[in-house]
């Protein structure tokens, strides 16, 4: 393969995808040429328009719904589905044929993510697709859009970076990789979205970022997109006279984003309309949600505005006679958005979690607490010791601090187009800091909220080639497998479980760790299942560390892993002694391998993607 000309960054978002690229040959040092691809997509039947964003929606039309050629794209006439803007707008009217939030399903450990389960409320005659397949189709569309626009620089020969939430577990990372491979991506790296946002900030500063941060800074990246909230903490340190960036912690996966906020407002307004006896159909509800988003942005931008009119257009052709008029007030926006999603809470609060009832609906595990600031408090509290052992930070950490003290904040995601929300988050954080007599954090300005992740990913592909600064940090969790301890069984009690560390925190890309002391006996031909755990705080555990006891918020169960030894050349039922090897791949995934003690044989240990029940 020839040297790639472009480094392509792909933001595979919950609600939108975007593609940005850096022209490697035209860039030098920290002066880079970065652009965003306009993605041709269906906007109506038989109508193709380009847009910088590709809505992450997939529509599976009925055979009689469209005529021939209605789904044609500049590069394909054989497609029987639609992705992008048309999928979103048509799907809003026919939700039983719409796949949305495929990415949230991709990291939902409670379902089989390779099984055709979406749309999950579709009637039997709709041919469903798997979360993996839906993601593959978005990625494929992006690849084809690129090839259509750059026939001289084929996608397959460029350097590709795809972004994922920092909170994605190893299974979700591997699924994203599988989706990309199925979409025809070859040279591929995964990058965490908050890191991409910071890379974009660095790229757009063209070198000036070195003046905006100092050694000792802890940058908090707050990324609230359409469907998810994602936090990361990145420390700035100096080594041999150079500034280095270390990602020291990431937050949990929180399904909570801008769409929830617009929907919350729309439901409030719909209740007002219902009180007047005006009911809304789903079409009008969608129009109302859109109108609320616009009105919300106006009200939050200009706090002097008391009220914004809202018009829900009629569905029929009588626009004036059939439209519903109402209004959204400043007070409603403030109580719903500011107090509902960004409450001014204390640093000690934690998000509420309701224990789920016996009957849980098969659906996405949305955040149960809508307070972004509460989730943030939980992260900072949990990560209070994140920099304790970092070079140059030892003296700085206040032993009495109840949470980790960030010194700078970078906001990302469309939600923060409303400055008020960024300011509220920053003010809340600064009150926490003030209470512990720490310096207030400052805002890092100049981010492109919608496209930063794609741009940052493109820039990352460029710095990986040796130009510019890289964020280090390795894996953001330590990983464990469960070992049943050999205690006498007590009737009525599950045998206690010990957690054995198989991959320590902070494994750098391209390194591997062998678990020496513990051997596992694998039965040939019979799959062995092991419970799998992760911890985002246990930095000190080495490979082989055995935990007898841990706090519930320290270690989370991530599902199962399993290994099956093929029967070739062995007796079924024979037991083979194996060791586990963890590899942090260059691509950005974690791989577990079972290595035979006698001989060179090894087998991949799979992350179990089956449903838990």
């Amino acid at each position: 393969m020839s040297e790639p000309r472009y480094s392509i960054g792909i933001d595979l978002g919950t609600t939108h995808c975007a593609l940005a690229y850096v022209d490697i040959t035209a860039s030098e040092g920290e002066q880079t040429l970065c652009a965003v691809l306009d993605i041709p997509q269906l906007t109506d039947p038989g109508t193709v328009e380009p847009s910088a964003l590709l809505p992450s929606f997939l529509y599976l039309p009925h055979a009689d719904e469209l005529t021939e050629g209605d789904l044609d794209l500049p590069w394909s006439t054989a497609q029987d589905y639609a992705v992008g803007e048309f999928a979103r707008s048509r799907g809003a009217l026919t939700p039983i044929r719409l796949v949305s939030s495929a990415k949230s399903w991709l990291c939902h450990a409670g379902v089989d993510r390779r099984a055709a389960i979406l749309p999950h409320d579709a009637p039997p005659e709709v041919a469903r697709v798997s979360p993996l397949e839906a993601s593959t189709r978005y990625l494929e569309h992006l690849r084809q859009a690129w090839d259509d626009a750059h026939p001289d620089a084929p996608f397959a020969e460029q350097d590709i970076t795809v972004t994922i939430p920092a909170s994605f577990d190893p299974a979700a990372r591997e699924l994203t990789l599988d989706a990309a491979r199925a979409a025809g991506y070859s040279a591929l790296t995964l990058l965490e979205e908050p890191q991409a946002a910071l890379y974009s900030w660095i790229q757009s500063s063209a070198g000036r970022w070195r003046k905006d941060v100092q050694p000792g800074d802890i940058i908090l990246v707050v990324d609230v997109g359409g469907g998810t909230s994602d936090f990361s903490l990145i420390a700035v340190l100096e080594r041999e006279g150079n500034l280095e960036l270390h990602r020291v912690a990431v937050g949990d996966h929180i399904l909570l984003g801008g769409d929830n906020m617009d929907l919350a407002l729309a439901h409030g307004v719909a209740r007002k309309l219902a009180a007047d006896g005006k009911a809304l159909d789903p079409w009008q509800m969608r129009a109302l949600t859109y109108a609320c988003r616009v009105a919300k942005e106006n009200l939050l931008t200009d706090t002097g505005l008391e009220v914004q009119p809202i018009v829900v257009p009629s569905r029929g052709s009588k626009l004036i006679g059939g439209s519903l008029r109402t209004e959204l007030t400043q007070a409603e926006v403030r109580s719903t958005i500011l107090e509902g999603f960004f409450p001014e809470v204390e640093a000690s609060v934690r998000p509420s979690t309701r224990t789920r009832g016996g009957l849980t609906q098969l659906g996405l595990p949305y955040a149960q607490d809508a307070g972004v600031t509460r989730h943030l408090a939980a992260l900072l509290g949990r990560q209070v010791g994140a920099t304790a052992e970092l070079e140059g930070f030892a003296g700085q950490v206040d032993a009495n601090a109840s949470f980790l003290h960030p010194t700078a904040v970078l906001f990302n995601g469309g939600v923060f187009k409303s400055d008020v929300l960024a300011q509220r988050t920053l003010d809340t954080l600064n009150r926490w800091l003030e209470a512990e007599e720490a310096e207030p954090a400052r805002m890092l300005a100049g981010a492109d909220l919608d496209l930063a992740v794609a741009r940052g990913a493109a820039y990352y592909g460029y710095v990986r080639r040796g130009q510019g600064v890289r964020i280090r940090g390795g894996t953001a969790r330590a990983y464990y497998v469960a070992i049943e301890s050999s205690m006498p069984a007590v009737p009525g009690m599950e045998p206690p479980v010990q957690a054995l560390c198989v991959a320590p925190f902070g494994m750098e890309e391209g390194t591997e760790a062998d678990l020496q002391m513990q051997e596992f006996g694998l039965v040939v031909g019979a799959p062995v299942h092991l419970r799998f755990f992760g911890s985002s705080v246990r930095r000190q555990d080495q490979i082989g560390t055995l935990l007898d006891f841990w706090q519930p918020d320290e270690v989370q169960e991530l599902g199962e892993i399993h290994a099956t030894l093929p029967a070739e050349g062995r007796q079924p039922g024979e037991i083979v002694q194996v060791r586990l090897r963890a590899t942090a791949t260059e691509t950005g995934t974690l791989e577990l391998t079972a290595m035979a003690m006698d001989g060179d044989e090894h087998w991949k240990v799979e992350f179990d993607l089956r449903s838990q029940d």
Partner: protein
């Protein structure tokens, strides 16, 4: 001027005729180039004695044969724009209704939908810039050879250029048109599909 779609095209405006000073400097440049470059002189010779259409001065490649793109059909483009204005701004619905039955408040509510939608269509499908950058009301001078297609003189129109006047409207010029591409058998006469809920 860039065009990102095939049909329909907006034809670039013909550049305004150069001013006298500019023509003078061009004459000197061409004079010396004819003396120094024989090839150039041959081209100018062809220009002087050639057909009634002036060939390009620079050695441009022959105009590429137009790709077999569908002929520019302005009817299609007009219908396409109407469909966009209906989709995003409900313009046809709005204009087909009889206003006498409604109060100004009702009409105002609908007008918001139309206004917002029209803005979106203009923003997404055209790049529109003022013809003149000066503030309205300011005094401006129009030199000889100004582009009368882009600037309309009104009032006391007498005498010769340069004209001095006050800018009452800055004018608008479309510098880019981005209409969607259509599938081959797309029926552009359907401005909005009828909807049937099952």
């Amino acid at each position: 001027m860039t065009l990102s779609t095939h049909p329909p095209h907006v034809h670039p405006p013909k550049p305004p005729a150069p001013s006298f000073l500019r023509r003078l400097s061009m004459a000197f440049r061409v004079f010396f180039r004819i003396l120094v470059y024989p090839d150039y002189a041959a081209q100018v010779d062809g220009l002087r004695f050639g057909a009634d259409l002036p060939p390009p001065l620079t050695a441009a490649p022959p105009a590429p044969a137009p790709t077999p793109a569908p002929a520019v059909n302005y009817n299609d483009a007009a219908l396409q724009l109407l469909a966009l204005l209906q989709r995003d701004a409900r313009l046809i619905d709005f204009t087909q209704e009889n206003l006498t039955r409604y109060s100004d408040a009702d009409i105002g509510g609908a007008a918001r939908v139309v206004h917002e939608g029209c803005c979106k269509v203009l923003r997404e499908h055209f790049t529109i810039v003022p013809v003149r950058q000066e503030a309205e009301g300011s005094r401006i001078v129009l030199n000889d050879g100004f582009d009368a297609r882009a600037i309309r003189l009104t009032g006391n129109v007498v005498g010769k250029a340069p004209f001095l006047g006050s800018l009452s409207h800055r004018g608008w010029r479309a510098i880019e048109v981005r209409l969607p591409k259509f599938a081959e058998n797309h029926d552009v006469t359907v401005l909005a599909q009828a909807e049937v809920e099952l």
